[in-house]
């Protein structure tokens, strides 16, 4: 595989790699995705919008530049509580009110440990250690404003051009809760010849997008689950999956996050359970995994690789 080098997630010439159940490989236009979806299938997509989670600042002890990448559940907690604290990092372009009090968490606020501190230059490497803590103190509104005004999308090293925030939002992007772009979601379009993520989910037979589907595909639904390795599968999604399986439909999970979430939710006994979980590599394919024939559909320009 060749790493993607351009931030354009919506290239009109993007292709689909399709592997059928006999192992035959064919290439198609990305917009042909729906041609491979059958009536009764269920499409599950990630509707998380991407946060500008890359912040540039000054490492107080050394005075050197640092990039801090927000990640993890503690940040999510902090966003709700209005502050997250730590020590040692001033965010360069944040107003003074956002600067860290260099020390402490004496007020009992939550700490955020940057999951990954930038290591793209010597200055940053010099600062990177387990002891570094990021600190933003403000109201909830202030933190949102600071992120919106001063944050950047996390830049993949293999993408040459700077990522703009609009490069990272899929057409179905909803709540800004993802730290990295849910890239496979770019396969979904809102036109009438593609899946309709705007439709309501629920009882499949009432699915309003049914009449929009080319070739009268029935009852294909989209639903959402979020976050990175921490996942939350909605009860409605779990119910739709079970219903689809009972009716011999296929469950089509789009993207790594969604695949992991569904795998994890079904990892106990094969029945998909709703709720929160942590999808790890332990839930991925492994030696003990029994093999089954399946079709595979992949957007060859989405995600982290191009073919």
């Amino acid at each position: 595989m060749i790493a993607a080098t351009a931030p354009d997630q919506r290239a009109t010439g993007a292709r689909l790699l399709v592997v059928d159940e006999d192992g035959r490989i064919s290439h198609h236009a990305r917009t042909a995705f729906l041609d491979f979806v059958r009536g009764g299938d269920l499409v599950i997509a990630n509707d998380a919008a991407t946060l500008p989670a890359s912040l540039f600042g000054i490492h107080d002890p050394t005075g050197r530049a640092i990039e801090v990448r927000l990640a993890g559940a503690r940040f999510a907690l902090a966003r709700r509580r209005g502050a997250f604290h730590g020590r040692g990092v001033r965010l360069r372009r944040f107003p003074d009110t956002y600067r860290a009090a260099s020390a402490s968490t004496a007020d009992g606020s939550r700490r955020l440990t940057p999951a990954r501190t930038a290591q793209r230059d010597r200055d940053a490497r010099a600062c990177a250690s387990a002891a570094d803590r990021t600190s933003l103190s403000s109201t909830v509104a202030g933190i949102w404003e600071g992120l919106a005004r001063h944050g950047r999308p996390i830049q993949y090293a293999y993408v040459r051009e700077p990522l703009a925030i609009w490069n990272t939002w899929t057409r179905i992007a909803g709540p800004p809760v993802a730290f990295e772009p849910p890239s496979a979601g770019f396969i979904l379009r809102l036109g009438c010849h593609s899946i309709n993520p705007l439709a309501r989910c629920g009882v499949r037979d009432r699915h309003p997008c049914r009449r929009d589907f080319v070739n009268r595909r029935r009852a294909t639904s989209t639903h959402c689950c979020r976050s990175m390795s921490r996942t939350k599968l909605q009860p409605a999604t779990a119910a739709l999956i079970e219903s689809t399986k009972r009716n011999d439909g296929r469950v089509i999970a789009i993207g790594t996050t969604v695949v992991r979430a569904v795998e994890h939710a079904a990892s106990f006994d094969g029945t998909v359970r709703s709720g929160r979980g942590i999808a790890t590599a332990a839930h991925r394919l492994q030696y003990a995994t029994s093999c089954r024939r399946c079709d595979s559909v992949r957007d060859s320009r989405a995600g982290h690789q191009s073919l």
């Binding site: 404003e145 919106a148 925030i165 992007a173 909803g174 709540p175």
Partner: protein
């Protein structure tokens, strides 16, 4: 939500610090809606946020592409989702109004950026959240504030009129596509000639007593939202 009670409704309003936008902020907030409003001037945003506790002010310029996603992020951060987007911010173009032949290209560009591209970009950025609102059965709406100048070609109103005509048409196209998929409702609303700073700029010698109060228009729009 019954009658004109808008409790729990999540609404974003652009151009929310004066005229109709400000009246909408007050009206919808008083009816129980969770309101986020957007305007360019920091001091004005702060003033209105202080006047209307609970309403979240966001500094941003919808005519700037770079501001759209930061606005969207803050709206969603403040409201936790979105049910109604009111694209109200408007630019007259050249002031005082001049014939089209005397309109600078840059003035036309600004009017189009504010009155057409901005609403389009912001709607697109928030489409996923409106979709989530639809999935939750909350009947999302996008309301584009229009004008009779969108229909009637008044002399000297070239930049404003052309941009509002385009916005009106855009609303209809959004509506047809989105309604077919039961996704969201797109409305183009002409509130009438109001006693607002924008109108005063366009028609400085107008008899203000003959103009509709923006509060009246805000009540009418709130009724449309609640219907």
């Amino acid at each position: 939500m019954t009658g004109t009670d808008l409790s729990g409704l999540r609404v974003a309003i652009t151009g929310g610090t004066s005229g109709l936008g400000l009246a909408l902020v007050r009206e919808l907030r008083d009816r129980g809606a969770h309101v986020a409003f957007v305007a360019r001037n920091h001091d004005d945003v702060e003033r209105v946020a202080n006047e209307a506790p609970g309403a979240r002010g966001i500094v941003g310029d919808v005519s700037r592409k770079e501001d759209i996603h930061p606005i969207a992020i803050q709206v969603l951060g403040a409201l936790g989702g979105l049910d109604v987007l009111v694209n109200n911010a408007s630019s007259l173009g050249p002031v005082p109004l001049v014939p089209l032949a005397d309109t600078e290209c840059e003035d036309l560009e600004l009017a189009l950026a504010t009155n057409l591209l901005g609403p389009f970009r912001l709607t697109k950025a928030l489409l996923g959240s409106l979709a989530a609102s639809a999935r939750a059965g909350r009947h999302p709406q996008v309301i584009n504030i229009s004008s009779d100048a969108a229909i009637t070609a008044y002399p000297n109103w070239g930049a404003y009129s052309a941009s509002k005509a385009a916005l009106h048409h855009l609303s209809r196209i959004w509506h047809d596509g989105a309604r077919r998929r039961k996704a969201f409702e797109s409305l183009s609303i002409d509130p009438g000639d109001m006693d607002t700073p924008l109108h005063a700029l366009a028609v400085p010698d107008a008899d203000r007593s003959t103009l509709k109060r923006p509060e009246t228009a805000a009540r009418e729009i709130a009724a449309v939202i609640a219907a």
